[in-house]
């Protein structure tokens, strides 16, 4: 009994540190990915176009707007504001990315995911769908952890109760 009283707070403390790491990694990746795309909007639009999923005008709006969504969500995560809500939104975004990349692979397109700028056609055999999917799945795991345990250190979120 006395043991569980001692381990409970320690476990919660460890979880908070894990959440801190998850928040900073996920937020950092989002901000960097968004910024790299935002500085080169033409490539960003071309990268969205290359998936052949959206009509041209929609692809333009997504290519222009998506990087800023990533920057906004990433900044909120870095600051630790509304972590659970933002992590849930990020998870949804990542699921969309995973579906898009998987569909590109399934349709036999040879494109770069354009996750960190660039994107568009690549020579057949130079695709990296496996790596891209594993990376997105890893980030999705971090987002899911944060939905489960949003409490973390160095966050602007209020402490529980």
């Amino acid at each position: 009994m006395s043991q569980s009283v001692a381990t409970e707070p320690r476990r919660a403390e460890a979880a908070r540190w894990v959440s801190t790491g998850a928040r900073l990694v996920l937020g950092g990746v989002l901000v960097v990915a968004g910024a790299l795309k935002a500085i080169d909007p033409q490539s960003s639009v071309a990268a969205v176009d290359a998936y052949e999923l959206l009509p041209a005008p929609v692809a333009t709006v997504v290519g222009w707007g998506l990087p800023f969504a990533e920057i906004a969500l990433g900044s909120l995560l870095l600051a630790g504001i509304a972590t659970r809500v933002v992590a849930a939104a990020t998870a949804v975004l990542l699921v969309i990315f995973i579906i898009a990349v998987a569909s590109a692979a399934a349709r036999g397109l040879s494109i770069d995911c354009g996750c960190f700028g660039g994107g568009g056609q690549v020579p057949p055999g130079e695709t990296a769908y496996g790596t891209e999917l594993v990376r997105d799945a890893g980030l999705l795991l971090l987002a899911a952890w944060l939905v489960w345990k949003p409490q973390s250190r160095f966050a602007l979120d209020r402490s529980p109760q």
Partner: protein, 243 residues
């Protein structure tokens, strides 16, 4: 019996329910605020990118490359500089490809200088695989070449490569380069008069086995752009010219 104990229990349940409702309301407000924040950032971002894409082109420094009107023929590149020049520099570029703009910034002045000195002339294949703007720019490039201000227009296109290239922007660019553009040039741009030529250039590039832009050949020999320095390019042109 309403004992104080019972009252307390009921009171506590009521308080707990109230707190739960308050938490739910807080959560809903939080979601709305986050959604509104992200939306504002995204809309502002789209507005910013639209402004960057559709603003007016900036002027470029003038050059003295001879700019005689040149005829455009299907499948054939645009020739800039005197065709009597001993060296031929062949370039495959897309006016919207970022690497092409980088290439132009680094090596463009050397290529321009080689044209001015009469050492080399440029065979240009303006490809258009990135977007509609690529094709519009390629078409306008052909119009400008016909009208006799091809070299300056070429540099203007790359100096403003982040623009979308609407018809209006292309006409504005021509105005900034060489005074008010002729009626014929404007019609050529708005009617996409060289649309067939634009497709024929893409087809020719594919036939020539071009898989990436920029691709450069000097006297028909492919140049490794990834490891190229301005000095090395200058030496290559000099060597090619002396041979």
């Amino acid at each position: 019996m309403n004992s104080p104990k019972n009252l307390n229990a009921r009171e506590r349940a009521r308080l707990a329910a109230e707190q739960a409702a308050a938490r739910k309301r807080d959560r809903r407000i939080l979601i709305a605020v986050v959604a509104a924040f992200v939306l504002v950032v995204v809309v502002a971002g789209i507005g910013f990118q639209a402004w960057r894409a559709y603003r007016s082109p900036s002027a470029i420094p003038s050059s003295s490359v001879s700019a005689i009107p040149v005829t455009i023929s299907n499948g054939q590149p645009i020739v800039l500089g005197t065709s009597r020049a001993p060296t031929t520099i062949t370039l495959y570029e897309d006016f919207h490809c970022p690497h092409c703009a980088d290439f132009e910034e680094q090596f463009g002045p050397i290529i321009t200088q080689a044209q001015e000195s009469g050492a080399a002339h440029l065979e240009l294949y303006p490809m258009s695989f990135i977007d509609e703007g690529s094709a519009a720019a390629a078409n306008a490039m052909a119009c400008a070449t016909e009208a006799g201000f091809g070299p300056a227009f070429y540099r203007g296109l790359f100096a403003n490569h982040t623009l979308q290239w609407s018809d209006q922007q292309l006409i504005e660019l021509a105005a900034k380069i060489g005074g008010s553009p002729s009626e014929a040039f404007q019609t050529c741009v708005t009617n996409k008069a060289h649309a067939d030529w634009v497709s024929s250039v893409n087809a020719a590039a594919e036939k020539n086995g071009i898989v990436q832009t920029p691709t450069m050949l000097i006297n028909g020999k492919s140049v490794d752009i990834a490891n190229l320095t301005p000095d090395a390019l200058m030496a290559m042109i000099t060597n090619a010219t002396q041979r």
